[in-house]
């Protein structure tokens, strides 16, 4: 089955990506900063930082804490707002000849639709990632992604606004009792794909100042530490919804890690925290993944998607 070149492409709804490694939202800023280290067109897609309607200055500092094999962040969705973003960031990305997925985040169900409307006619966007891991101001700040109803409503609204064209990828939080339930809801509501997982809610107390280290007290835990949780989420959701493509993320740092996500059921992989330690991480991971797939005798990435479920089934059947 060894071929010299191998199909690494991934599809989410009508969007096709020649390569399977994407930036994770919020971990590549608007793209420019990483372009210094490799050409953006050589990876699958740039997922932009989550954009809000208005400019946001985010949370106070300290906004980060390193933790064992991970980190906490508490950025608070700092960003320029959709207008400035569409005017400045998108044209630059389009000029790079890279695939663009725009991540949007709102504080109300309606805000998501407003954002979707602004994106509808923008050229050069492949898909919209809907970051529902943010607080819903209309419901006591309860994170949308932690509430099945709110999650559905957001995606329904975005779907209605976008019409049938632009694929929607719903990004879920792992901080829930039943992620499969949330996933089903957003897929029913019109999501073409899922991004799994956002950060886990965590906290570090500074033992010198005796208070929470982050100015925002809690933060999102990312990095290799959370990989087992991410792999589990991808595996569970793929088992329940095998037809729904997943962008797997959470602690992917090497081709081996990316391969693990693919075997669990991801069709593509996003890389966040690893870029902080290695600016070239995305390309390195993509190249390593390609070699690994070949080495293991896969003729395409698609063949490997969810393979851990199938090996499993076969072996169980054999056992009787």
């Amino acid at each position: 089955m060894m071929t010299d070149d191998i199909d690494l492409s991934a599809s989410f709804g009508s969007a096709w990506f020649p390569w399977p490694v994407f930036t994770a939202s919020g971990c590549a800023s608007s793209g420019k900063e990483l372009a210094q280290f490799f050409p953006l067109r050589e990876i699958g897609a740039v997922v932009t930082k989550s954009i809000s309607i208005k400019a946001r200055s985010g949370r106070p500092t300290p906004r980060m804490a390193e933790t064992p094999s991970g980190m906490l962040n508490s950025i608070g969705l700092q960003g320029p707002g959709i207008d400035s973003f569409l005017e400045n960031d998108i044209p630059w990305l389009v000029a790079q000849n890279t695939r663009i997925i725009v991540s949007i985040s709102g504080e109300t169900v309606d805000e998501f639709s407003v954002l979707a409307r602004r994106l509808r006619s923008v050229r050069g966007i492949c898909a919209v990632e809907v970051n529902i891991s943010c607080p819903n101001v209309e419901n006591r700040g309860l994170v949308f992604a932690c509430d099945p109803e709110a999650s559905r409503s957001v995606i329904e609204g975005v779907r209605r606004t976008l019409g049938g064209d632009l694929p929607i990828i719903a990004k879920l939080s792992p901080d829930v009792t039943d992620i499969v339930h949330i996933a089903r809801g957003v897929v029913d509501a019109g999501a073409d794909g899922l991004s799994l997982i956002n950060t886990l809610l965590g906290m570090v107390i500074n033992t010198d100042t005796l208070r929470p280290h982050l100015a925002g007290k809690t933060g999102g835990l990312s990095g290799p530490a959370i990989r087992p949780v991410a792999v589990r989420a991808v595996y569970q959701v793929h088992a329940a919804l095998p037809e729904v493509p997943i962008v797997g993320m959470g602690g992917v740092r090497s081709g081996r890690d990316a391969f693990e996500m693919i075997l669990a059921g991801a069709s593509a992989v996003a890389v966040g925290t690893a870029s902080f330690g290695n600016p070239r991480a995305l390309l390195d991971i993509q190249n390593e993944l390609k070699s690994l797939l070949k080495e293991k005798g896969f003729s395409s990435l698609k063949e490997a998607v969810g393979f851990a479920h199938r090996v499993d089934r076969t072996q169980r059947e054999v056992k009787g």
């Binding site: 800023s29 420019k32 980190m71």
Partner: protein
Amino acid sequence: MMASTINKRAEQIDVTVLSNKRIGAYHQILLNIGELVLHCHPGNFVAISVGDKTSSMVLRRAFAISRVSHRGEYGGTLELIVAPHGSGSRWLCEQGEGATVNIVAPLGTAFGIPTNPAQALLIGGGYGSAPLFGLAEVLKSRGCRVDMILGASTSNKIYAPIEGKRSVNSLKIFTEDGSTGILGKVTDPLPSLIAEGVVDVIYSCGPMGMLSAISAIAQSSQVVHQCAVEESMACGIGICMTCVIPVVDATGVISMLRTCIEGPVMDGSTVQWDLVGKVV
């Protein structure tokens, strides 16, 4: 686009530790960085990967470039002055001659050099003095007068190498415990120096409290204040938004700027010191 020009010269490379000497409370670490040295300017920093392959530390550490040499015995070399603080900097201080470390450099903004000879006052706190000696050399070569004031809590935290002293016109040292130099703070002599009119531009590097105090004093004068700030950085290359600081622009709008790419050297008068660590 500031961002894409600033890190244009940045590269990620493995480099060799040429030497590692303890100097007071610090380690002076010399790295063999070859050609990259050509693009390193005073004020720039390097982001270093810490720990071995199995390390639990996932983030790089930022260190100011203390000095560079273009034609050393080994080609281009870069010097760091590292305070063993937490696990990452301690790991770095343990790397001896011959060890390999991975760096991304040069990063961030550099100190602006006056186009006309000026009277420059360089103020350093703790290891913050490190980049000031390289800066002093450049300023001297442009015909500036260079006075320097260094301060620290105690004597072994004063970093003032003998070679470095040669490149300044005057050097005053302050310690908070009086163990070396004058008992007091670097800001003590500042109001009178400014009043005397012997300062056109202040270059500072050190703890945020010091930078803020200098800004407050300089504010009521015509003196320009370029300071190298220090915020916690997760990436060092502008992609994470953790390192921000509130800065006011010409129109009065305050934005949270990334100190890794729009800094570390910033105009002290634009930094909203009283809003650091608060919601803007």
